[in-house]
């Protein structure tokens, strides 16, 4: 072989190796045993709050390096799947009650039960509704609560005063009929007529009475209302029994549609599309909104002069109800640093808990202290409106132990019916009547539940 041929072949080989190297995922890299990769998500203040909470762990463990990786893995399971398939998943992640069981059933999350016993952590130290929602049917815990948020009524006190209305009772001792009445009285057209006035012009509304996330077809919007009527999309311990077409559910959905399209007192999907309803409330265009505690930080950032307070959600025909959403610290089961990951997760949800992502701490009574209820800038009704509803009998957590939610809530499930409802193309009865048998149950059965 001539020298030129050898040079040619050598160059070709180098090119091939370089191309192959460029294509490799790097999954074979060995990681530092003292470095823990933590996948987190959220807005800048959320990220900062987590890093601040983790500083205590780093101080106590100076030999451990925590590397935060900000992305979508956690709220979006698909993003985690891609990281797992690519061999690049972090050791620790923050997931949510909405996809926690999906990950558990796939074996993605480490069973933390043995670590809890080892570290002397008692599940009874957490808010019962919250910790029980994360237990699998055999009582195992694959994650620990970072905290939770709860749906409450946020209202503009100036608008209530201007309308001559008494403010909603902080503990929720008022009804959805009261709310409907207030919403109409607080909705004003450009001439100052309210929605109960015969002269009211629904085409020129200057101030709306109410905003509910149903305009986004979102469960934290319609879920608590349906629960207060004694209905819901799914029921049963495993949340795999369809109840979306029961009379109670249909009445609740009709109530929400009537607020938007009969009373003209609530934000419609069209208005939501133009500017999100929660921002309209923050900017002083809407008198009341159903929302979670994150509204407090949004007001602080965007309109600190807004005068508002919070009340627990009202009672429906079946009683008071709200929806809790939990953010969950969890360890990736494929991590080589199981002990370290479990240790960090335990710290962040116990000793280091509080003031993470603006959530209500679920550990011991931290929610009542400076970490939440007595924090600077917290509204005066926060305990009655945000913390106490967690123990209402009808309060529920949006966990999905049967992993059917994505299937039933999308375009193949009740998605089109919900679109018909919120766009006023069909009444609740016409949109949802018989939907369990025709659409939802086959999806649940196909999923093997």
């Amino acid at each position: 072989m001539s020298s030129r041929t050898r040079a040619t072949l050598a160059t070709a080989t180098v090119c091939t190796v370089l191309l192959a190297a460029a294509c490799s995922s790097g999954g074979g890299e060995e990681s530092d045993p003292n470095t823990l990769r933590v996948a987190i998500w959220g807005v800048n203040t959320d990220i900062a709050s987590i890093e601040e909470a983790a500083a205590g762990y780093q101080e106590a463990n100076p030999d451990i390096t925590i590397e935060f990786e900000v992305g979508d893995c956690g709220p979006d399971y698909a993003a985690c799947r891609q990281l797992i398939a690519g061999g690049n998943m972090a050791d620790v992640l923050v997931t949510g009650s909405w996809n926690y069981f999906d990950m558990v059933s796939d074996g993605v999350l480490t069973d933390l039960t043995p670590y809890l016993e080892e570290n002397g952590v008692d599940p009874a130290d957490f808010t019962p509704t919250v910790i029980e929602a994360l237990e699998t049917s055999d009582g195992a815990l694959h994650g620990l609560p970072m905290g939770y948020n709860s749906q409450s009524l946020f209202y503009n006190t100036d608008m209530f005063e201007a309308a001559g209305l008494e403010e909603p009772a902080a503990d929720g001792s008022y009804t959805y009929e009261d709310l409907r009445d207030w919403a109409a009285k607080l909705t004003l057209d450009e001439n100052g007529n309210n929605a109960q006035d015969p002269e009211f012009d629904p085409d020129n509304i200057a101030q709306w009475g109410y905003y509910n996330r149903i305009a986004l077809a979102n469960e934290p919007g319609y879920g608590p209302v349906m629960a207060a009527w004694g209905g819901g999309v799914l029921s049963g311990e495993q949340r795999n029994e369809c109840t979306i077409d029961t009379p109670e559910s249909i009445d609740a959905l009709q109530y929400l549609q009537d607020l938007m399209w009969v009373d003209h007192s609530a934000i419609t999907p069209q208005l939501e599309q133009e500017e999100p309803g929660y921002l309209r409330w923050v900017n002083g265009q809407v008198a009341m909104q159903q929302g979670s505690y994150e509204q407090v930080s949004i007001v602080e950032e965007q309109n600190p002069d807004l005068n508002y307070n919070i009340a627990a959600l009202p009672a429906g025909p079946a009683g008071n109800a709200t929806l809790l959403q939990i953010h969950v610290w969890a360890a990736y089961s494929g991590s080589e640093k199981q002990d370290l990951a479990a240790d960090f997760v335990t710290y962040m949800s116990t000793e280091g808990s509080g003031q993470q992502m603006g959530l209500i701490p679920a550990y011991q009574d931290r929610a009542l202290g400076e970490d939440f209820a007595e924090a600077e800038g917290a509204p005066s009704n926060v305990v009655a409106a945000q913390i106490e509803p967690a123990s209402w009998p009808l309060t529920y957590v949006n966990v999905d132990p049967s992993n059917v939610w994505a299937g039933i809530s999308g375009q193949d499930g009740f998605g089109p019916a919900m679109e018909d409802l919120i766009s006023d193309r069909a009444t609740a009865e016409a949109a949802f009547g018989g939907l369990c048998e025709s659409t939802i149950n086959p999806i649940i059965e196909a999923s093997g539940q």
């Binding site: 041929t5 040619t8 191309l19 796939d106 069209q270 039933i408 999308g410 089109p416």
Partner: protein, 352 residues
């Protein structure tokens, strides 16, 4: 073969005899050609290697995946034989998503081709500010489809959107654009047409500039009107450009995804896109949802790969049909259309 191209650039012309320099010269020449061939192979190697690694291998792998089930979490895919392909034939939703894609093609691609041509006809002759018009028409093409989708989502707001207000200005009832199953896909098609016109216009202008002025002048002298000149001279001569645009825009339309996600997702969740009432769920969006929605037994990477291959086969079929039709309708200057040429030859042979 009249001339044989060789790697390294050497060519042997017919009738040309190699120099009678003996065996030694022939050996030297042969060794040189081999060396040159090796260098040539080296130069094309990166491209071939890239093609193999980034096109051929993924194609083969994705075809392999269509015979597996994998949720990306399990350590490896499970071989399921023809299950995914059988499921595809039994999937009650696949007909709807294909029909949605076809509806987009019928409205979006057709209007893109027509309005691009119209824009080109209006702007190809030099006149005042024509450059500014062209730039204005081309500008949307350089924008991100997601950004454009978000802006148009606001434009189509059925209560306060500028499009709605413009329609109402004429005393007409504006539809619920993106919230009504009857108008949602049409609205998306309008946006993609608006965004693509500049690209189509540019290519049509290039085609129009290639139409010989002498032909148009001759036709004019012969008494042909503007319409006749357009259909008999201009259109046949720009047919290769039109054909290229038809083929590429159809392939693009079959892959419709971004505008649908940007304009129909509620709360920016891709899984929720495709509404209202499934009226905008296209093949690629369905494939994406099957890839990341594991709540049904037949889903995941394997089924998504099967849908991708169905789409590839569909694209191939549509393109093949277009090429077949192209032989009849596309006029390449200097080359006779196959059928016309054959007919003429037949007629000639039949002459006494």
């Amino acid at each position: 073969m009249s001339a044989t191209a060789r790697p390294g650039g050497g060519a042997t012309l017919p009738g040309h005899q190699p120099r009678q320099g003996g065996r030694r010269d022939r050996r030297r020449g042969s060794a040189r050609r081999r060396r040159e061939a090796r260098v040539a192979y080296l130069f094309v190697a990166p491209v071939v290697l890239g093609l193999l690694l980034f096109t051929a291998v993924p194609l083969a792998v994705s075809f392999g995946y269509s015979f597996t089930h994998w949720d990306l979490v399990a350590p490896a895919p499970t071989f399921v034989g023809w299950d995914n392909w059988i499921a595809l034939t039994e999937d009650p939703r696949i007909g709807k998503v294909i029909w949605n894609t076809v509806r987009f093609i019928l409205v979006g691609t057709t209007s893109f081709l027509l309005f691009s041509l119209l824009a080109a006809l209006l702007t190809h002759t030099p006149r005042r500010f024509v450059g500014a018009y062209r730039a204005a028409l081309f500008l949307p093409y350089v924008l991100s489809q997601i950004a454009v989708g978000i802006v148009w989502r606001w434009m189509f707001n059925s209560q306060t959107g500028p499009v709605t207000l413009a329609v109402e200005l004429f005393g007409l009832d504006s539809p619920d654009w993106l919230l009504d199953p009857a108008t949602a896909m049409i609205s998306i098609a309008m946006v993609t047409t608006w965004q693509g016109i500049g690209y189509g216009m540019t290519l049509y202008i290039a085609g129009l500039n290639g139409v010989p002025e002498s032909l148009l002048e001759a036709a004019k002298i012969d008494g042909a009107g503007a319409v006749r000149r357009f259909f008999s001279i201009v259109l046949p001569l720009i047919s290769p450009t039109a054909f290229f645009l038809v083929v590429t825009s159809l392939i693009g339309a079959l892959q419709l995804f971004d505008p649908v996600v940007a304009m129909t997702s509620s709360s920016s969740a891709v899984a929720a896109a495709g509404g209202p009432d499934n009226s905008t769920r296209t093949i690629v969006l369905y494939m994406y949802n099957q890839m990341f929605n594991y709540n049904e037994q037949i889903s995941g990477l394997g089924y998504a790969a099967t849908i991708a291959w169905m789409l590839a086969l569909l694209t191939f079929l549509v393109t093949a049909v277009q090429f077949l039709l192209g032989r009849r309708f596309v006029h390449y200057e200097g080359a006779e259309p196959a059928r016309a040429g054959r007919r003429r030859r037949t007629r000639k042979a039949a002459q006494p």
